[in-house]
Subunit: 461 residues, 2 copies
C-alpha cells in the first residue's frame, strides 16, 4: 500500500496528470498481453523525463514499493505485470526522438518512442532501423531493449541487441549510468550495456537509448510457398540456410493459422494447405534476383505444393502485414490464447513440427503454429478457455512436454518473449542451478532489495 | 608463493609436463605484448581439459594464489600479465576444434584454438569466420572472446562478440556454467554470455566456445588511395560511410607507418605520401563492382593524390598482409613501442588526426598512426625507449591529452585492446564513479575474493 502522503508528493513533483492512484484508472495497468496473469498496482507514474524517473524511484524506495517498468504492455511473458503490486512506472510519455545522426548512422531516443515511429523517422533520412517485432506499431523502444525483441527481419538483420549502441540507465539506488556510445567499437570495461539488453526491467530503468542504423536494402522480392505437411516446410527452411542463402524474412504459418489469418485479413490464402512459408530476400537487385531463384529451386526440390512470387511491392507488403496479424487472428477464435516462443537450432525444425503435431493430438488441443522459422523460433499457440480447468491443464502439459524436447535438442525456452513471470519454471529447467545462481548474483549486485520487478525468476530468492 | 606440496599436487593431477614452476621456465609468462609491464608468476599450469581447469582453480584457491588466464600472450593492455604473481593458467594446449556444424552454421572449439586455424578449417567447408584480429596467426579464440577482439573486417562484419553463440565458463567458485546455445535467438535470462565477452578473464575461465559462421563473400576488390594529409584521408572515410557504403575493410596508415611497412615488407609503397587508405569491398560481383566504383568516386571528390586498384587477388592479399605487419614494422624502429587504440565516432576522425599531429609536435615525439579507420578505431603508436624517462613522460602526456579530446568527442579509450592493467586510469575517466561502481558490483558478484586477474581496474577495490 502506498501512503496518501506519498501520492501527494508524487503529484506535487511530477504533476497531477502524471500520477494515477484510483483503482479504476489502474485496472488496465495490472495486465500486459500475457494470459492468465494480472496484478493490482498501488500507483502508476508517468515520468516526463530523467528527473521524473529519479523522483519516482526515490519515493518508491521510501515507501518500500516494488517498481514495475512498463512501455506499451505488449509483453508476452508478464514482464510488466505488477504481480506484487507496487508502482507501475509507465515510460510511454517519454517519447521524443532526440537525434538522428546521419554522419555516424545513429539515432538517440527516449524509451517511450514507438518502434515503427523510429523506423519511419529514419526512413525519411534514407536510413534503416531493422528490428521489427510483431507489435512494432505500438511497442516501445524501451520495451524492445528490455526484452531484446526480435522480429520478422531477425534472420538476416539480427535482433534489438545488435543495434543498441548506448544506454542511459537509472539503477535502483538512484545512480545514473551511461554505458556505450557512438563509437562502433568499445571494449572499455564490462559490457554493462549488453547485460542490460534483455534484462526485462529487473536491473535498472532505461532513460535513453542510442541505436545504430544501416543503409536500407535497395530492393526486395517476396515468395510464398505452400506445403502439404509442416515437417516438409521445416525441411525447406533448413535446406535454404544450408544452401548459404540468408533471406531477410523466412516465416511459417500452419493450416490453423492460415485459416484464421485469411478469415481476418481476406487476402486469398488457400485454406487446404498444411503449411505456408513467407520468404523475403532483399539487397542489391542482382543479389535479390539470384537468391530468389536459388530459394525457388530449393522449394521445388523439397516438394512445395505451390510457389508464388509476389507480383509487386504492395502485394508483398500485404502478405507481410497478414503474417503480422497471425496472433490477433488466432486470438479472435478463443477466449484465451496461450502463446509460446520455443526456439531450436534450425536443423531441428522439422522434428519440432512433428512433435507439435504429436502433442496436439495427445492432449486433444487446438493449436495454431506460426513464427520465425528461419531463426528456429516458433510460436505454437494453444486456443483455449481459461475457465476450462481441464483444458488449461492439458495445454500446460502440452508445453511442458514440448519444452522437454526443445531443451534436449539444444533449444531455448524463449527466443524473443523473455522469461517474465510466465516462464520462471522453464528457465530453471534450461539453465540449471548453476545458471540460476549466476542470474541471482547479477540481480543481487544491482538490486539487493529486490525493488525492480520482484515477481520474476531472475529476481526470485 | 606457492607451496612445494601444491606444485606436487598439480603435477600429480595434471601431469609433469603441464606444470611449470622453475623461474627460468616462467620468465616469458611474466609478459604479454604490452610494453612497460611485467610480473613474476609463481607457477604456470597448462590444463588439458575442463577437469584440468577445475583442478587448477581448486589448488589456486587452497593456496590463496591469484589466477591469470592466458592464451598466446598477444594482448596489448596487460590482461595476461601476472602483476601480483600467482598462477598463470595457460589455455593454449586446449586447442581442439570440437565440431563444425554445417547445418546450423556453428563451430565449437576449445579456448586455445588459434584464430586463423579456425578460419581455415571452416573455409574448407565453404564457410566464413569473419573476426580477424591483427594477431590472428597466433592469437587464440579464448583470448579473442575475453578481449572481444576486432580486426580488419570489423567494419562490415563486426567483432568477436557478434559471433559468440555459447560459452562454457568455470567460475572462481568452481561451478561450471553453460550460457547460450546453437539457437540463433535466445533471451532466457540475463545475457551472461554477453557479459563474459570482453570481461578480460576477470569473471571466469572459458573452457568451450561456440561461434556462428556465415557464407563467405563471393568476391572482393581492393583499392589503395594516397593522400597528402591525414585529415583528408579521415574525411574520405567519413564520406564513404555517409554515402552508405560499408566496405569490409577500411584501414589507414600514416607516412611513418607506410615507411616502416615498406622497409619491412618491400611491396612498393610510395614513401612521400602522408596517408594511405586500404579499402576492400566484398560480396556479390555486381555489388562489389558498384561499390568499388562509388568508393572511387568519393576518393576523387575528396582529392586523393592517387587511387590504385589491386590487379588481382594476390596483390590484394599482399596489401592486407602488409597492413597486418604495421605494428611489427613500427616496433623494429625503436626499443619501445607504445600502442593505443583510441576510438571515436566516425564523424570525428579528421579532427582526431589533426589532434594527433598537433600533439606529436607539442611533445616532440615520433608517432606512427594506423588502424581501423572505418570503425573510428585508431592506433597512434609512439616509438620510444623505456630507458629515456623524459621521453616516456612526454609519451604518456601525449596520450593523456589525446584521450581527453577523444572522450570529449564521445569516443572510448579502448576500441578493441581492452583495459587490462595498462588503461585503468583511462577507464575511470571514461565511465566515471557510477560506471566504476557498476564494474565493481559485477566483479564482486562473481569473484568476491578477487582471485581472477586481481591487477585489473575492473577488479580493483
Amino acid at each position: 500500500m502506498i501512503s496518501q502522503a506519498a501520492v501527494a508528493r508524487l503529484r506535487d513533483m511530477l504533476g497531477t496528470k502524471n500520477v494515477l492512484s484510483e483503482p479504476e484508472d489502474l485496472l488496465t495497468l495490472g495486465y500486459d498481453s500475457t494470459p492468465e496473469l494480472s496484478g493490482q498496482p498501488d500507483v502508476a507514474v508517468y515520468p516526463p523525463d530523467l528527473d521524473g524517473i529519479l523522483t519516482a524511484i526515490e519515493i518508491a524506495r521510501d515507501e518500500g514499493l516494488p517498481i514495475v517498468p512498463r512501455g506499451s504492455g505488449t509483453g508476452l511473458s508478464g514482464g510488466s505485470v505488477p504481480v506484487s503490486g507496487g508502482m507501475v512506472l509507465c515510460l510511454n510519455r517519454m517519447n521524443r526522438i532526440l537525434e538522428i545522426d546521419e554522419a555516424n548512422l545513429t539515432a538517440t531516443v527516449e524509451p517511450g518512442v514507438i518502434t515503427l515511429d523510429l523506423f519511419n523517422a529514419v526512413a525519411e533520412k534514407g536510413l534503416f532501423y531493422p528490428p521489427d517485432p510483431g507489435s512494432q506499431k505500438i511497442s516501445t523502444l524501451g520495451g524492445n531493449v528490455m526484452e531484446n525483441a526480435g522480429g520478422l527481419r531477425g534472420l538476416k538483420y539480427g535482433v534489438t541487441r545488435d543495434y543498441v549502441m548506448a544506454l542511459q540507465c537509472v539503477l535502483p539506488d538512484g545512480s545514473v549510468v551511461n554505458t556505450g556510445g557512438k563509437s562502433v567499437k568499445d571494449v572499455a570495461g564490462y559490457a554493462f550495456k549488453d547485460l542490460l539488453v534483455g534484462s526485462e526491467g529487473t536491473l535498472g530503468i532505461i532513460s535513453e537509448i542510442t541505436v545504430s542504423l544501416i543503409p536500407p536494402p535497395q530492393t526486395r522480392k517476396t515468395l510464398l510457398a505452400y506445403f502439404d505437411t509442416m515437417p516438409k516446410a521445416g525441411e525447406a527452411v533448413a535446406r535454404i540456410i544450408a544452401a548459404k542463402i540468408i533471406p531477410s524474412t523466412l516465416e511459417i504459418m500452419d493450416q490453423a493459422t492460415i485459416g484464421c489469418v485469411e478469415e481476418f485479413a481476406g487476402i486469398g490464402l488457400p485454406l487446404d494447405m498444411a503449411a505456408l512459408l513467407l520468404i523475403e530476400v532483399d539487397g542489391h537487385p542482382a543479389v535479390v534476383e539470384e537468391e530468389a531463384a536459388a530459394v525457388h529451386k530449393v522449394l521445388q526440390q523439397v516438394g512445395a505444393a505451390e510457389i508464388k512470387l509476389a507480383g509487386n511491392a504492395d502485394e508483398a507488403a500485404s502478405l507481410a502485414a497478414a503474417r503480422r496479424t497471425a496472433l490477433s487472428a488466432l486470438a479472435r477464435k478463443s477466449p484465451t490464447t496461450l502463446l509460446e516462443d520455443a526456439t531450436v537450432p534450425r536443423s531441428m525444425l522439422a522434428e519440432t513440427f512433428t512433435e507439435i503435431e504429436r502433442l496436439t493430438d495427445k492432449y486433444r488441443l487446438t493449436v495454431g503454429t506460426f513464427g520465425h522459422a528461419g531463426d528456429g523460433n516458433i510460436h505454437p499457440t494453444v486456443l483455449c478457455d481459461e475457465r476450462d480447468r481441464d483444458q488449461m491443464q492439458r495445454a500446460h502439459a502440452f508445453y511442458d512436454e514440448l519444452y522437454e524436447k526443445v531443451l534436449a535438442w539444444g533449444g531455448t525456452v524463449s527466443g524473443e518473449h523473455g522469461i517474465g513471470v510466465a516462464k520462471r519454471d522453464y528457465l530453471a529447467r534450461q539453465i540449471g542451478p548453476a545458471g540460476i545462481a549466476v542470474m541471482r548474483r547479477i540481480k543481487d549486485s544491482f538490486d539487493p532489495r529486490r525493488m525492480l520487478n520482484p515477481g520474476k525468476v531472475i529476481a526470485e530468492k
